[in-house]
């Protein structure tokens, strides 16, 4: 620092006397609200968790043991399993600041491939299932390629793919349903996700366990692996991620492919849930999955939120749906309340972001 003083220009010479203490950044903002806001910033899934617990408590108080029983609570899990799995896929895509409108269509096409391969061509069920999973992954690859390499907006790409995949589904299946009895008799493996496990009144299915396991696995991967960090980095600021050495195209393509694969698993679970293979099923999956993601606190702008929040978001919808039905309310009340939750969730998201400034 003495050198500066010698070089003549003066304003820096005072630095020689400056304190050598390293900078400290004490957080002087205190108070419960700020602490809470900060906690939410670090753990974005806290909000949906709190809402979930409150709504369970509320319906429990209103309905008593009719709602607050192992049977009813696990029924909610069964009812949300398909949306939960699809929403996990949707979360990955939304974390990259994208959106996948084709999730529902990919799910249905994959389930149709599994069914048709088994019954039309007589291919053994495990191979047909593999083909269905490959089909979903391939659809995801097309999405990812168009988004990453052709730089097309995800909304447009997946809007187009939604139509293409859904039409292919109808054309290929000839609108034919494969009956549940036939599946049970000839290819019970297709029903695997519907297999029930009874534990003292609580009824779990393989599909429910898969949903929970999938979310926990993805949560680990997103938090504790390099790929997971890259997913967030791409969603946060793609150009910055590219400049700091992330292979953004690869990350994007892998995310859309994984989304497709998860949707294909959802297709398999769908067969277990409804029993038959029906090309007209699952039409609402994309809008319901986006709803779960948003209520779960994942930002539509990408890069923020946690996949556990998505699971809570899906469960909140399930709790409201069952709770209001048991109360005998018009189903429209469910939609109305969910609409309010969506808007509230986005408002909370904006509020949490303010911690950064």
């Amino acid at each position: 620092m003495a050198k500066t003083a010698a070089s003549g220009d003066d304003y820096e010479s005072a630095l020689a006397q400056s304190s050598t203490k390293v900078a400290e950044f004490e957080d002087t903002r205190t108070g419960f609200v700020h602490k809470f806001q900060h906690a939410l910033h670090l753990n974005p899934s806290l909000v949906p968790l709190i809402v979930l617990l409150l709504s369970i408590a509320l319906f429990g108080a209103l309905l008593g043991s009719k709602f607050f029983s192992p049977f009813a609570l696990t029924l909610i899990l069964q009812q949300v399993q398909i949306v939960g799995i699809v929403a996990a896929a949707q979360s990955l895509v939304i974390l990259t600041a994208g959106i996948d409108l084709s999730v529902g269509a990919i799910m249905v096409l994959s389930s149709v491939v599994m069914g048709q391969f088994t019954f039309r061509y007589g291919i053994p069920a495990p191979i047909s299932i593999g083909a269905g999973l490959a089909c979903g992954t391939a659809c995801g690859f097309v999405n990812g390629f168009l988004v990453a390499r052709m730089k097309l907006p995800p909304f447009i790409v997946t809007l187009g793919m939604w139509q293409i995949v859904l039409a292919s589904n109808f054309l290929y299946s000839g609108n034919a349903t494969i009956r549940a009895q036939d599946i049970a008799a000839e290819a019970p493996l297709l029903h695997l996700f519907g297999a029930k496990i009874n534990i003292g009144g609580a009824v779990l299915t393989v599909g429910v366990l898969f949903m929970v396991g999938l979310v926990l696995l993805l949560s680990y991967v997103l938090r504790h692996t390099a790929w997971g960090r890259h997913v967030y980095a791409v969603g946060d600021d793609k150009d910055a991620a590219e400049l700091s050495g992330v292979q953004t195209d690869r990350v994007l393509i892998s995310v859309y492919m994984l989304s497709g694969l998860i949707c294909a698993f959802a297709g398999w679970a769908l067969i277990g849930r409804i029993g038959s293979v029906s090309p007209t099923s699952g039409q609402l999956a994309n809008i319901e999955s986006i709803t779960a993601v948003v209520i779960g606190g994942i930002s539509l702008f990408g890069g923020r939120g946690s996949i556990l929040g998505t699971l809570f978001g899906a469960l909140i919808v399930g709790v409201f749906t069952l709770g209001l039905r048991l109360l005998g309310a018009d189903a429209q009340w469910t939609y109305l309340l969910i609409g309010i939750l969506i808007i509230a969730a986005v408002a909370v998201d904006q509020w949490i972001r303010k911690v950064s400034v």
Binding site: M1, S7, A23, A226, D236, D237, L243, G245, Q247, G303
Partner: protein, 261 residues
């Protein structure tokens, strides 16, 4: 120095953005062990030049050589794997991620053993310890901050993190595009000291800066950039700051011998 082989060299680089020619047959040389300052008006094409030699933009024409060998960087990662570390002007950081995650972006450390090999788990403690050490070297922040998201840092602190990242990982060439623009007097001084440290390790540095006193204090040579090309290269001891600004803005013709340099 002129007899030496440049460690990093650009020849006839051209980059057009639509009708704007950001680089117009531009040459560039960085010699081993030197601090090369690049100065020029805003929009002269300085950032585009360093992006072209560091893989962030692919030039429309021209060649880049690293240690005499022709290289074709197609991404910043490419250049980084060749030991060129760059702090870009628009600070490549992911705001929502932590300081440690950002410092190790694209070169994460994994846990030893099964956790790392099979579960591919990141070694956060090691990454955080390293990041903490590098930031302390730069005198930039205290320990408790290492896990905080980059978006909660001030502009100057962010720049400090970016500089620390480049200094920590650059093995052959370090390029700093206006690294002190958002920094206070004290932090700017630390960055200059850091640049001198890096130089004393024998590593060459490219520094883009508008701060003439800093440039004249620290640079071995000054590349003056004007209208998308190198106008001339001068030595700070041969010219005054006024001369440099006059060349840079076109107020004065550059000396003939500097044009050849």
């Amino acid at each position: 120095m002129e007899q030496q082989q440049p460690i990093l060299q650009g020849k006839n680089l051209v980059k057009r953005y639509g009708r704007v020619t950001a680089l117009d047959h531009c040459d560039f040389e960085l010699y081993p062990g030197e601090i090369l300052a690049v100065i020029g008006d805003n929009g002269a094409g300085k950032s585009t030049l360093i992006k072209a030699v560091s893989g962030a933009v692919v030039p429309d024409a021209g060649e880049v050589f690293l240690e005499g060998k022709r290289v074709n960087f197609s991404s910043p990662l490419d250049a980084r794997e060749h030991g060129i570390e760059t702090v870009y002007q628009q600070l490549a950081m992911s705001p929502a991620l932590s300081i440690a995650d950002n410092m190790f972006m694209g070169r994460e450390l994994r846990k030893p053993g099964i956790m790392g090999k099979w579960l591919r788990q990141l070694d956060r403690p090691a990454m955080e310890a390293f990041a903490r050490e590098k930031l302390n070297e730069l005198g930039l922040m205290t320990i408790q901050n290492i896990r905080q998201a980059v978006e909660t840092l001030s502009g100057g602190q962010r720049q400090g993190v970016a500089v620390a990242r480049a200094a920590a990982f650059g093995s052959k060439v370090i390029i700093l595009d206006e690294p002190t623009a958002a920094l206070g007097v004290k932090e700017s001084r630390r960055v200059l000291e850091l640049i001198n440290d890096v130089k004393s390790r024998g590593q060459p540095i490219v520094l883009i800066s508008h701060n003439m006193p800093h440039v004249f204090e620290i640079a071995d040579r000054i590349h003056i950039h004007r209208l998308g090309k190198r106008l001339c290269v001068i030595r700070p001891q041969d010219y005054s700051m006024n001369d440099a600004v006059a060349f840079m803005t076109g107020a004065k013709e550059p000396p003939q011998e500097a044009l050849a340099a």
